[in-house]
Amino acid sequence: MNSSTENAPECTSCELTDDLNLLRGIDFFARIPLDGLKILAYLCTRETYKPGDILFSQGDDDGQAFYLITGKAKLSYKNENGQQVVRDVEKGDFLGRLVLLGSMPRLFTLTAETETTCLVLERAKFLRTFEQFPGLTDKVFQAIIESIVGWDRRFLSSFKEGCNTCCDMVGISLI
């Protein structure tokens, strides 16, 4: 027997294995073959934020994807009328499908509300891994398409007819 993960004594690489399982649970990563996913799991870091810590802030291009392992954070944005709260991001949420693919300024700010532990993956690391597996492109694009269509579908089924501004905004899957 030479499989290192099954045969090894007590806890030899538990964080890596845990993170690998977390990534497998995220639709965006689920289709990626195991050897690619292992690299991503190895490249992720776990970061802990205290209440009030800012994970990312509006206008910046920090290039980090976040998966909340524990805790709760507040998503907000700033306009002429001040800071507007959007919603809470909670344990199990993953933010970063687009951020991993290319540069974009943040339209929102994410602030930790309780002590929050995240799995963080940087764009540069993701893209370099991506380069190593030419076959990944299709799978990642498909995952992105499905998320956008899913978003649009949810929006369609929940908005009230007669809301004029909503009609203007529906159809993000048409971009």
Binding site: S13, L43, E47, G59, D61, D62, P105
Partner: protein
């Protein structure tokens, strides 16, 4: 006669190869001639002695004469040898001196050539021209006097001597040479044709290789190895073909020459032999004749070789110079006046710019800026924004129209005028190999360069530099570089003392707040962000044999590991680490980003792959010593907090903690000077400044944590008054080739700081802040508005429209023309092109 290091003013590409022989090296060449005359004399003497030895000394049986003539013979041979050596030295000296001067002048010329020239010229081509192609022409210049004069004189001397010995025999045996003189140039013509092709091909070859290597990321990203190999193969094969033809002709000349000259002795034997038998030629004369005849061969061979070098040198030189025979667009230095000090009024009228292929990039631009006004140029990509900026900055020569700065036409200004008054920040600025400081001073030094003294006249002070570092926001980065430096003990004794004192204050003021991000050195705890070797020793080696990379070969340390029962557990950990790393990273390209968290460096990967393969069939103890050393070394490097592929078994961390105390106890008796153990009151010379202040290591590279750490450290350093000292150390940070150790944002900030340090009257920024985050961009924008408005004229090509409200004027460009120009509010109210750009088409 210009015989100084700087040759005549005529550009090198217009100089003939001959001008290097005489004008440049006259004195040396004359010296050479004198030496040659002596040499030729020294070469003929032995022949006469030879004859006299046979005819007089031996025939008359006179020992004293024999000794005398032999003495002369020996003296002449020795002198000829020494003189030949002297000739070689002078020749080599002339050749190297010439090659160096040619390289300098050609480089000086090439870097002034217009940007358009470099669009079609690969860097490799330039490298090839400067390094390889000038060697043969230089060698020719070295030989140009010595080789023909020595050899022709020697030949004449020998021929004269032969004729004096026997007219007819001489004439007959020399009859081959005219024939050679007739045949060789015919062959040489073909050699030259092949050589011309070779020079062109070699140039293309270097260009292609340089292109592929500089685009290696594209090659690897596309996995285009076969395509690249194919392209390379084709050109190498062609080069081989040409070189083969070239060499064959060259050898043809050599062979022909050898054959023809060896016919000489044949004639002497058959004819001289006959005459001698008939008693019409003395035996001594025949011996002298034969050896003189033989001596003809060497000078003749050298002459032919020289002829070949001459021809090849001509071809290489002319071919190379023709290629670079272009004029720079602008004069470099003003003549008869000082550089202008401009105010920065800009007047552009009817400006047009056409590419070489006739494409119109700018079609009639008119704009006017008073000194100190700020203009933002916006528009879609391809609308000519950058071209406009580059025309104003004198980087491109415009086709027609005018650009006036303070009534001076930009096309007529010298490069020095521009450097003095203009700060140019390009879209993707290049940072050069060297320190941050050197890069910061690059522009200011160039603008104030004194050609006579070869130094910059006045440079910004440290205060100026620090101010600009802060304004551009690269201050924190430079401070970081400083903090990450491992100081050498000798240079910084005073600072080191202060740093130890700072440590206590840090613990007091920030210890608690930063406890989450720092793992403090603690004798009683296992340190998860230090490696196993550090955990075992917790000290800095005072001797080389105890330094970390040597530990695996250190007898004392290895024995200790065995006694502490650590050897096998560590080997096991090493095996596990290598299995895991090879499993995860075994099949991917050696990308530094992907290997940053790996204990195995990309270049070691193959070694460990082999070990892992062996581990499949062998047990740990069956591995050979070399493999075991590798595994042990890997285990000692393991940092559990960083190298995620494995965890540290609890049992092992406990064992290591136990051994730490044991090791200290042992070595303080056996070898008390081997280590300086970590001590809160002592500076740790093997650790960075930051780790010394912390008396610990940071546990995360997370930007938020870094920011918090930076804030506390800056506050602390200000309080202790050593901030400047650390920044100064940080400015010595080596940025790597093309600045590759800096991030894109850092490079851009450095380029902006480089331009600001010059405090130019005219600033051109071509999307200069595109790689910066929001905060840095806003900082630069504020700086421009508050510090530079009214003082320096600014032309900024801008792609992010949220930053343009504060500009005095905005020009919206479309298809090479200015569509509209005015203040932000006016243009928005007009609801024209700017409105469309800002709010989109739909509204």
């Amino acid at each position: 006669m210009p015989s100084k290091e700087r040759p005549a003013e005529k550009p090198i590409v217009k100089r003939s190869l001959y001008s290097w022989v005489f004008g440049f090296n006259t004195k040396l060449q004359i010296l050479l001639l004198v030496v040659i005359l002596f040499t030729v004399f020294a070469r003929v003497v032995p022949l006469e002695m030879q004859k006299r030895i046979v005819n007089s000394a031996i025939k008359l049986r006179k020992i004293d004469l024999l000794l005398l003539y032999c003495g002369f013979f020996l003296a002449a041979v020795t002198a000829a040898g020494i003189l030949k050596y002297v000739i070689n030295i002078i020749e080599t000296y002339i050749a190297q001196r010439t090659i160096t001067a040619m390289r300098k002048s050609l480089y000086e010329h090439i870097i002034t050539l217009p940007l358009s020239f470099f669009r079609n010229t690969q860097p490799g081509t330039v490298v090839n021209a400067l390094s390889v192609e000038l060697n043969i022409p230089g060698n020719f210049v070295g030989m140009a006097i010595a080789a023909p004069v020595t050899n022709i004189l020697t030949l004449l001397a020998f021929a004269g001597y032969l004729i004096w010995l026997n007219l007819w025999l001489a004439l007959l045996s020399l009859s081959m040479y005219p024939l050679i003189v007739f045949l060789v140039p015919m062959l040489q013509k073909r050699v030259n044709r092949a050589n011309k092709e070779r020079v062109d091909m070699a140039r293309e070859f270097s260009g292609r290789v340089a292109e592929s290597i500089s685009g290696i990321h594209e090659v690897q990203a596309n996995g285009a190895y076969p395509i690249e190999n194919n392209k390379f193969g084709i050109i190498v094969d062609k080069l081989r073909q040409i070189r083969l033809v070239w060499s064959l002709y060259r050898f043809g000349i050599k062979t022909l020459n050898n054959y023809m000259t060896s016919l000489g002795p044949f004639i002497v034997f058959i004819l001289g032999g006959y005459l001698s038998i008939k008693g019409r030629l003395e035996l001594g004369a025949l011996v002298a004749f034969l050896s003189a005849q033989e001596k003809l061969y060497n000078p003749w061979k050298e002459l032919i070789e020289f002829y070949q070098v001459y021809q090849d040198g001509m071809v290489n030189y002319n071919r190379t110079m023709e290629f670079f025979n272009k004029e720079p667009d602008h004069q470099l230095e003003p003549v008869g006046r000082k550089p202008f000090e401009l105010e920065g009024n800009i007047e552009v009228s009817n400006l047009r710019f056409l590419t070489d292929s006739g494409l119109e990039l700018l079609g009639g631009i008119n704009l006017s800026l008073k000194a100190g006004e700020h203009l933002a140029v916006v528009g879609f990509s391809g609308s000519g924004k950058s071209t406009l900026a580059q025309c104003i900055g004198q980087l491109y020569a415009y086709s027609s129209g005018n650009i006036l700065i303070d009534d001076h036409e930009v096309a007529q200004l010298t490069k020095r005028d521009m450097a003095r008054n203009l700060g140019f920040v390009s879209q993707s600025p290049l940072i050069f190999t060297g320190s941050i400081e050197e890069n910061l001073l690059y522009s200011a030094a160039a603008a104030n360069w004194n050609i006579e003294s070869q130094k910059a006249e006045r440079l910004p002070t440290l205060d100026d530099i620090i101010a600009v570092l802060q304004q551009t926001g690269i201050f924190v980065d430079v401070l970081r570089f400083g903090l990450n430096t491992v100081l050498s003990a000798k240079e910084y004794t005073a600072l080191i003392k202060t740093l130890v004192q700072v440590r206590a204050n840090f613990q007091l003021e920030f210890g608690k707040a930063l406890a989450d991000y720092v793992e403090f050195y603690d004798e009683t705890k296992y340190l998860y962000h230090s490696n196993i070797a550090d955990n075992l020793i917790l000290g800095a080696a005072r001797r080389v044999d105890f330094e970390q990379h040597m530990l695996c070969e250190n007898e004392y340390f290895l024995n200790f590991l065995k006694e502490a029962d650590l050897n096998r557990p560590l080997l096991g950990l090493g095996a596990h680490l290598s299995r895991q790393t090879v499993d995860i990273l075994g099949d991917i390209a050696p990308d530094p980003v992907l290997f940053a968290q790996s204990p195995i460096a990309p270049e070691e990967l193959d070694t460990f792959k082999d070990i892992v393969k062996r581990l499949n069939t062998l047990k740990l103890h069956q591995l050979d010593e070399n493999d075991q050393t590798h595994l042990l070394d890997l285990a000692l490097r393991f940092v559990p907090g960083k190298h995620k592929m494995a965890g540290l078994p609890v049992m092992l961390s406990g064992l290591i903690l136990e051994s730490r105390a044991m090791f200290r106890e042992r070595i303080s008796i056996d070898d008390p000077d081997a280590f300086a153990f970590y001590d809160i009151n002592q500076y740790i010379h093997s650790q960075s400044i930051l780790n010394n202040i912390f008396f610990g290591t940071t546990t995360t590279a997370n930007p938020l944590a870094q920011e918090k750490i930076n804030q506390s450290i800056i506050q602390l350093l200000i309080e202790e008054d050593i901030l400047e000292a650390i920044v100064k150390i940080g400015m010595q940070f080596q940025v790597g080739s093309k600045g590759d150790k800096l991030s894109g944002g850092q490079r851009q900030k450095l380029a902006i700081a480089r331009a600001f340090l010059k405090q130019p009257k005219l600033l051109i920024m071509d999307e200069a802040t595109s790689a910066l985050d929001n905060k840095s961009q806003t900082r630069i924008q504020n700086l421009l508005t508050h510090r530079y408005k009214g003082k320096s004229t600014l032309v900024a090509v801008v792609h992010r429209l949220d930053t343009i409200k504060t500009f005095d004027k905005i020009a919206v460009m479309k298809a090479g023309k200015i569509g509209e120009m005015g203040t932000y509010d006016d243009l928005i109210a007009q609801k024209g092109m700017l409105y469309e750009l800002v709010y989109g088409k739909r509204a």
